[in-house]
Symmetry: C2
Subunit: 575 residues, 2 copies
């Protein structure tokens, strides 16, 4: 049963193997697995760094109740090196928190609560800083001001990856204030009272088009109509035969139609189209039907409540004091028991009782949808089409977490000049909590839902198990207190059946509306064709009738007019 190892490989004992066991810091783990965080290629690294910084800026503004203003600059400083700088007018960050927020993985305010926000992991911005540090050896720089009456503070921090701890390199007070280009007066600047600027230097590459920073920011504006977003990029152009690249100031290309046509290195502004913040999503308690047995035991151990009954009523959503009593009775447990005294067997009974008690669904004011109107407006920003529609579904629940799905669709006649022809798969814009998802489309539940819908029923062609083909753009958004992403880079939504089902429903409704529109359009087109045909012969008809009946010119004209009116009343008379 026991075999000696082949020659050359010494047999090792359990003791020898034990000596190699070590703890792995979470920073080391993600440094080695940086593709999990979206830093697998220089091109994607640039996008991910911008994305994490913008997500944080928007979350901060919204939490503080500030209408967000964000400026993004990407500046190429060497052939493969960029500096990303993101400025916001948010509430600012108190000095003591800066090192841990920007140089410690798994640290943040959004993980331990159930409320819709862009960030949720406490990884993103520190990961971007860590990638910059890994590839350039440079720290992440933060300047932040929390109030017009207090000085700003400027810091440089790095991450000690062995210990997942921040190292502060610079820590100074200064007079900085966030400034943003004035879109109405080019060259002028506007100042804000408070805000934060983050600067990261990293190895990266810039490529325009699909999956670019430009596309990400453009889609950000689509999903966040209350955001005013400024963008510029400054690229080097390598002159032929020269060693040193020279600065070529270029601005964002393929930008939306409502932005000013950009010139060299100048700022482009995506103006806000809504001057109000979306309703602030509320924080909720966990719903009993989404809590596993082990989690229930943990909650009972941690609760400050003195009795089981009050623990149930205060730690969970949708459990009233009366329902709590009912649950205790159903589980055969004394409602006055100390929660921490509940043993494994009792907890199991309690768990079963919770599952078998009918409860209201979790409250839904924790979600903030984009809204049908704003989705249509967003699609108009993206594409010039003939038909637009949007659907916001009512909230649903997966694993106890409330979520809702919204979908939008635009259609244009093939050959009308709008990009995206009749032979190409439709373009799908995916969003999660208002953040554009660009990478990993194939692994995403939202894409899967588009593929599952039978688009042939709505007048599009669709190869088997593929995206439909045609002059269509689809937008799809999931809003949730906890979006289940397939990896830490947060580019694709995991395929929970509840999520796919809701997305399919939303898309089917869009599809039905498209089919109705296309049917109407086809009928009108046919009718118009026939009417034009008849109209061409109408004068001749009137002339013929006039000759047969011996009508005067005036009478003949009257007949022609009456015939024309008749034709107008029944536009589809020919069908």
């Amino acid at each position: 049963m026991k075999a000696k190892g082949p020659s050359g490989s010494p047999r090792r004992t359990a003791e020898e193997l034990a000596a190699q066991q070590r703890e792995i810091s979470v920073s080391e783990f993600f440094l080695k697995n940086r593709h999990l965080l979206g830093f697998d290629s220089p091109r994607r690294a640039l996008l991910t760094a911008v994305k994490e910084a913008v997500d944080n800026a928007l979350d901060a503004c919204e939490e503080a109740g500030v209408l967000p203003e964000v400026a993004v600059e990407i500046r190429q400083i060497a052939a493969t090196r960029f500096r990303v700088e993101v400025t916001d007018n948010g509430p600012g960050i108190v000095k003591a928190q800066i090192p841990r927020i920007f140089a410690k993985l798994l640290y943040g305010s959004k993980f331990h609560r159930l409320r819709m926000s862009r960030g949720q992991q406490g990884i993103g911005i520190s990961a971007a800083g860590m990638y910059g540090q890994l590839t350039t050896g440079r720290p992440i720089e933060i300047v932040s001001r929390t109030s017009p009456t207090k000085p700003a503070h400027s810091m440089q921090v790095m991450i000690d990856t062995r210990a997942n701890r921040p190292i502060v390199l610079k820590d100074e007070s200064c007079d900085w204030r966030p400034t943003f280009p004035d879109p109405d007066r080019p060259g002028e600047w506007l100042q804000a009272d408070h805000g934060t600027r983050v600067t990261i230097e990293l190895e990266a590459s810039y490529v325009r088009g699909r999956l670019s920073v430009d596309e990400f920011l453009h889609q950000c504006a689509v999903a966040n109509p209350h955001l005013q977003l400024h963008y510029r990029r400054v690229l080097l152009s390598r002159a032929v035969g020269s060693e040193e690249p020279s600065v070529r100031e270029t601005a964002a290309e393929s930008l939306p139609t409502d932005a000013e046509p950009p010139e060299g290195g100048e700022w482009t502004t995506f103006r806000r189209t809504i001057k109000e913040l979306p309703r602030m999503p509320e924080e909720i308690l966990p719903h009993p039907h989404g809590v596993e047995l082990g989690m229930l035991m943990q909650i009972l151990k941690d609760t400050p409540a003195r009795t089981l009954r009050s623990a149930l009523a205060t730690e969970f959503s949708r459990v009233s004091d009366r329902t709590a009593l009912e649950i205790c009775e159903r589980a055969g447990l004394d409602p006055t028991t100390r929660p921490s005294h509940i043993a494994h067997r009792e907890a199991d009974k309690l768990f079963q009782a919770l599952q078998n008690t009918k409860l209201m669904r979790p409250p839904m004011d924790c979600l903030s949808p984009i809204g049908e109107e704003a989705i249509v407006a967003g699609l108009r920003r993206q594409v010039s089409a003939e038909f637009y529609t949007a659907v916001s579904r009512p909230p649903e629940v997966y694993r106890g977490n409330p979520f809702l799905i919204e979908a939008g669709l635009a259609w244009w006649p093939p050959g009308s000049g709008t990009e995206g022809g009749a032979d190409e798969p439709v373009r799908v814009l995916r969003f999660a909590n208002r953040v554009p998802l660009l990478h990993q489309a194939g692994a995403c539940a939202l894409t899967r839902a588009v593929v599952q819908v039978n688009w042939r029923a709505y007048g599009l062609t669709q190869p088997r198990e593929s995206l439909p083909v045609g002059p269509v753009m689809i937008l799809i958004h999931i809003a949730s207190v906890w979006v289940p992403f397939v990896s830490e880079s947060k580019d694709a939504v995991a395929s929970y059946p509840e999520i796919i089902r809701e997305a399919v429903f939303a898309l089917q409704e869009c599809g039905r509306r498209l089919a109705a529109f296309l049917g109407r359009r086809h009928r009108e087109h046919e009718a118009r064709r026939k009417r034009e045909y008849i109209e061409r012969y109408l004068p001749h008809l009137a002339l013929g009738l006039g000759e047969i009946l011996g009508l005067s010119d005036r009478q003949r004209e009257e007949v022609r007019e009456r015939l024309a009116r008749l034709l107008q009343r029944s536009p589809a008379s020919g069908s």
Copy 2:
């Protein structure tokens, strides 16, 4: 520039926001994100738990130089609850290490080294235990014996998810030894001197077929011909109208042809077909061309070497003492500098010099391929086909990490009774470091490579951007010191271009051989058809010739034989 929040959502200050910032333990993170670890559905949870335990068992055996023997039992103990028990004859685990190995995420021996192994993250088995604890409240149980002369120890451990720390519930000495069913004498048991048994209770569901535990173990046997694997499952069957499920002993179904036909609850054995361990892969040092600037700075800070020159020569692979000197000169640095005194600017120069120095590729004895012969044998275990081939590519490098690709292909005539018809996409078996990858096929670089190959050139049909269609099975294996997975559940390989390219090359070679075989087969088929046609008329031809020439019976027979010989010499005479 500043806006008040809408009514109802109070404006929060930086100080208020700061108060919500908290550290997140890595266990909490993965508990909430358990789909990242492969525990998103009860069905997949069962597979993932088995997979993590089997991976660990195999790694332990191979490291200790023991020919592995593994027994897997899955036992249903309630409608949605299972007990998974995996026993190995590995070296055992010393008592002090058990709690951390099984109840602490990010702890292990495989992360901090460059050597091919199944585990690499230090997450898997603790995650399985944590999922069991979450869904059933039960601890993970371990019994282990490191030597026949020492007692075994039996432990129950749980994980304190708030702190990512183990909690020991039971810790006893006992007389346990690993036992395995004797495949030659049903009902008898064989004992091993040392080994480990892991037991996890979890919420799960068992479904046979694709993505099942059965399929995983079957493929394990394919990729590990040196493994002897025993398997049984004990399921409950719910009698109609009865509340309590009763035990129905069933054994593995759809098992390979070389296993004994199983009966109720009995053990099935996948016998080993190779009685030798694969060559033990060697541990290597990082290669300079795969090291980023930040990593270089870290290495220089941590090295015990006294001079820059010796640091380069001892910390990296393929840097001799002479090359180290050359690199220092190229960077304009004094080779006797203390490595820890190298500042950022010098490190950057050193980094550039390393990139610009020609170095041998990393050593490749860190990889242990399955081998072409074993791949063909494995395919034979999976499918009864007419044509088999396999290709092992020479090693290559991505991000400084050596890897190699192997591919195999089987083809059978449509309608020959082998499952998988001419109209279905080909089945692709994916492996990474000899571990079968079942989930997330669409997100995997190996699948992508199959799609990228133009299979039409090799005689198969293939829809655009899809898997080819036809009676074919494809096997593809990546072996690497660090497999880049797209998520912690390790089901799909990230799409590094170097990996996809190598996989495409291997598949193209298989494709060319298939095309040659199909061409030969077609020609032979045609020739046989023609020969049969001629042979039918041969006697008549001989008869006619005999009559014309007035031959005797003997002479006529001679003519017939000579004509037949002529035909045999040129089998494709008709083409």
